[in-house]
Each structure stands twice: as structure tokens, then as C-alpha cells.
């Protein structure tokens, strides 16, 4: 089944034309990776899925349902949860309050409590610190919290915006491991990444976005071999690491 589909989507910030007729397709159970330079429109893509940015043209379809005109609250209820760029944990709230907010649209209290203990099993560090303010944790721990918070919505589609950004190598590894294990539990993943090498290693397929247009799409293995990706993204990634 097709989980998510963009059909010729255009978006604007005022006069600035960002997405210029993009098409994406994410199948159920897949990990799909979105690559692209800074300013290409990756975060805008994520915001468009969530209903924070409205397409002026084209449709966004989630499980056969048009979501392009839905409010973020309706989108989250439909089963999409975000791990936002820069984590965006609520820094003056406790770890467990952050997790509760991840389940904000749900009202099945018993199941929420179960999911919270599942997140604590996945990230024991969060359990130890559940009373602590989120803002006092390290970047890696905050990223774990952001992922746990998204899982609290019980999503069928997890959208992640640069989850490894700014993390130490150990945490980068952990993030990608976590993404894989969440995917194995049956959650479909649409992920923006700058770390093309790692991302394409775990992904099924990928898209390359340039100036708001998809310039390349293929299965992950082929993308890893492609001239464009090797030059533009892997070249950078290798130099950096």
C-alpha cells in the first residue's frame, strides 16, 4: 500500500517559491530518505506533510486520503508524527511531560501508559531522567526524547528531519540503529538526512532535492553509486568525518 504520496506539490513562503512541483512516494514499511543541500526544501517538505505549510498546487495523499488541507492536529491524529529539525523538545518541561505531549491527540490513557514504558525500555536513559527538565539534557539525549515523543503518538508514518544533526558519532550510530528497529516494528519512515552514507545504508529508496525540485530518485543502493550523490553528498560527508 502507498503510505504517502506528493503529486506535483508547490509551496510558497510569501513570494518565495520553495517546492516546485515535487512528487514523492513512500510505500508502507519502507525507509525513504530525502537528500539535498541546505535550503533545498527538505524541511518545507516535512512541514507540508504536517499541514504547517499549505500546498498552493498539487496534492498530499496519506493512505488514500488527501491531507494537504488538514490542520496539523488532524494530520497527527491520522497517524503521522514528526521528529523535527533541531529536536524542538520542550526544554522547560520534564522528560515525561514531553512524552505526554507526544500523545496529546490520544485519549486512550491505558495504552499511553504502556507506550511510555515501551519508550523507556527503548531509551533507559530517559527513564532515569524522566523528572528532569528536557533542556538540561545533552543533545543526544534530547534527540532520543524527540524520537520517543514522536513514538508516543503511535504513528504509522514517522517523519524525521535530520535526526543525526549535531550529534557525536556514538549518538549518530544509535539514532540510525533506533530508526531501523522502529521500522522493524512496522513503522514507515520518511527521513531527511545530510549524512547520506549512513542514511542510504539503512534506507530502501531515496530522493535528491535541489532548489525545490526532485533531480534524482532511485533505490538506496543505486543512489549510493550515483555520480551526483557521491560527488555532492558523500564527498562532503567523507571530508567532514
Amino acid at each position: 500500500m502507498t503510505m504517502l504520496q506528493f503529486n506535483g506539490v508547490h509551496t510558497y513562503y510569501g513570494p518565495i517559491h520553495v517546492l516546485k512541483g515535487v512528487n514523492y512516494r513512500v510505500e508502507e514499511g519502507e525507509i525513504v530518505c530525502l537528500l539535498g543541500a541546505n535550503g533545498a526544501g527538505k524541511t518545507t517538505t516535512m512541514k507540508t506533510i504536517l499541514g504547517l505549510v499549505r500546498p498552493t498546487e498539487g496534492t498530499v495523499v496519506f493512505k488514500g486520503q488527501e491531507i494537504g488541507k488538514m490542520t496539523p492536529s488532524q494530520v497527527v491524529k491520522a497517524g503521522i508524527a514528526p521528529v523535527p529539525e533541531g529536536r524542538r523538545v520542550f526544554s522547560r518541561m520534564s522528560v515525561s511531560e514531553n512524552l505526554e505531549l507526544g500523545a496529546y491527540v490520544r485519549s486512550d490513557h491505558k495504552a499511553i501508559a504502556d507506550d511510555m514504558s515501551r519508550v523507556f525500555d527503548l531509551f533507559p536513559r530517559l527513564k532515569e531522567r524522566r523528572k528532569q527538565l528536557a533542556g538540561l539534557m545533552s543533545g543526544g539525549e534530547q534527540q532520543m526524547l524527540a524520537i520517543g515523543r514522536a513514538m508516543m503518538a503511535r504513528p504509522t508514518l514517522l517523519i524525521m528531519d535530520e535526526p543525526s544533526m549535531g550529534l557525536s558519532p556514538i549518538f549518530v550510530e544509535r539514532v540510525f540503529d533506533t530508526v531501523q528497529s522502529i521500522n522493524k516494528q512496522g513503522v514507515t519512515i520518511f527521513m531527511v538526512e545530510q549524512n547520506a552514507n549512513m542514511a542510504l545504508t539503512i534506507a530502501n529508496r531515496g530522493y535528491v532535492l535541489q532548489n525545490g525540485e526532485v533531480v534524482l530518485e532511485n533505490d538506496a543502493a543505486s543512489l549510493l553509486q550515483s555520480e551526483l550523490v557521491r560527488k555532492t553528498y558523500l564527498g562532503e560527508a567523507i571530508e567532514v568525518s
Binding site: 504536517l50 494530520v75 520542550f90 526544554s91 518541561m93 505531549l101 496529546y104
Partner: protein
Amino acid sequence: MNQFLQSLPDTLVQGLAIGMMYALIALGYTLVYGILELINFAHGDVFMLGGLFSWAALQHFFGAQIGANYGVLGGGTLVMAIILAFLIATVSCGGVGFVIERFAYRPLRNAPKLAPLVTAIGVSFIIENAVLVWQTGTGNMELTYPSLINQQIIPVLGLHIPSKAIIVFVTAPILMVGLLYLVGNTRMGKAMRATAQDQEAARMMGIDVNRVISFTFIVGSVLAGCAGVIYALYYNSIDYSVGFLAGLKAFTAAVLGGIGNIRGAMLGGLLVGEVESIVDSIDASQGVGLQWAEPAVFLVLMCVLIFRPTGLLGAQVVDKA
């Protein structure tokens, strides 16, 4: 000076009473600022409306009894009248707060900060003048608010507590503890804090930010409306103009404690009340006609801001991190 020192304990008790009233108003400024970074200049007028609407309700339902006993009621009637006054203030001010946000501020949500600020001043003028027109039109220039409780001095542990202060000491703590519980423990309270810290991230969680903002205005306005009842009962009068100065002092209290900070607003309110009460008492001991309370309140604010620019407990604006 001797006279001042002798009455100091009683002065402090009175300061506590009016301080709690300022704290209730200050909470509305701080809640709204915490979420929208907007100074709601019309807030003081919502406070005034709480006194005014409850005055009208009391006249309507208990007019005869109030007229017969110089504003004093007894027994079950007294309890009913007090409940009615707070209920009417709660409903009407909650409604007014909702309407102000929905129609005056929301359309300007994405406009430059100056636009909603000027609008807020405009809303304040509209409310004050509407009430002034009503007061002149109906020949009610000086509205005497019934004291309801028999005015007497109750001796407690050597203190002389005016009976009118009892209503403040009962209602204000209930409202403040209720607010702390609401913000700290309920689902809506968590949504309010999340929205205050990072509005976009809150929306990503599925929080309906518009509902949270409406709710915040309603809560702040209800607290102000109840403070309006307290004020009117305490001073036995209400008119179109009282919202300006009381609002300004409560705003000072909010800044003093750290704007956006709920406990800060409570602390700031109590401090402003005490300063005002102490200076009033010194004025009284020096002779007639002195009015140093207002300048003193602002002087304290300036001194605090020099040493702690974000207020006593620290301002809490939206996290930029």
C-alpha cells in the same frame, strides 16, 4: 512615625489583601505575554468590567435587600450574593476576554508586534468609553458597590483584620492554587506551557494553538474579573476608570516578578500590594492628602529592574533555542 510602626502589622495584612488582588490581575498579563509576547493593555478594563457586571447582577437580583440594609446582607442571602457576584464576573469577563482575542488580536497574529499593541490600547479606550457613556447615560456616575458583609474589625492574634479582607483571603488563594494546578497538571495546562515555549513544535504535537490561546485569554480574564469583584467589595465603589491604574500596577507586578512567570506574577502582586499599603500608611501618619504610593511602586520596579532586568523570578519568554 510612631503611629506608623504601631499599625505596621495591620498595614501588612491590608497589603496582603490588595496584593492578592493585584496578583490575580497580574496573572492575566503574564499568561498572555508568556504565550503571545503581547501586552494586553485592555486587561485592566476587563478587571473593571468584573466589578461592573457583578454590580449590575447584584442590583438586579438583590436590589431590594441591598437597599434595605445599607448594602449588608446576612446568612444564606449573603452567600448567594457573593457566589452570584463571582459567577457573573467569571462568565462575563471570560466571554469578553475570548471576544477580545478572537476579533481584535487574532487577525493581527502575524502582523508586526506594534500592531496588536496599538490595538490593545484601542480596545482599552473602547471599553472605558463604552462604560463611561453608559454611566453618564443612566446617571450612574458614582456606583456604590454594596459591601455585602457587615463591615467590622475582626481581632485575630492581636491583628485587626477588616471583615472585607476575609473575602480576599478566601477567594484569591483558591483561584491561585487552582491556576497552578491547571497549568501544572492538566492536559490543557501542558498544552499552554508547550505553546508558550515553542508554538510551532506545539502544533507539531497536534495541539490546536488557537484553542490554547483562546483558553489562556479566558482564564486570565476570569481571574481579572474575580479581582474586579474583590476590588469593588473592598473599596465599595466601581467606575469606568479604575481599570487603568489597577491594571498598570498589576502589569508592574508582573514585570517585577518576571513577565511570563506565573509564580513571579503572584510574588510581584504581593510586593506591589505591600509597598502600596506601607506607603499609604506612612502618608497617613504624616498628615492628610499625601499620595506617594504610586510613585513608590514604580520606584521599586525600577530598582529591581536595574539589578535583575528579567524580574525577581526571571522572565519566561518563548525559547529561541
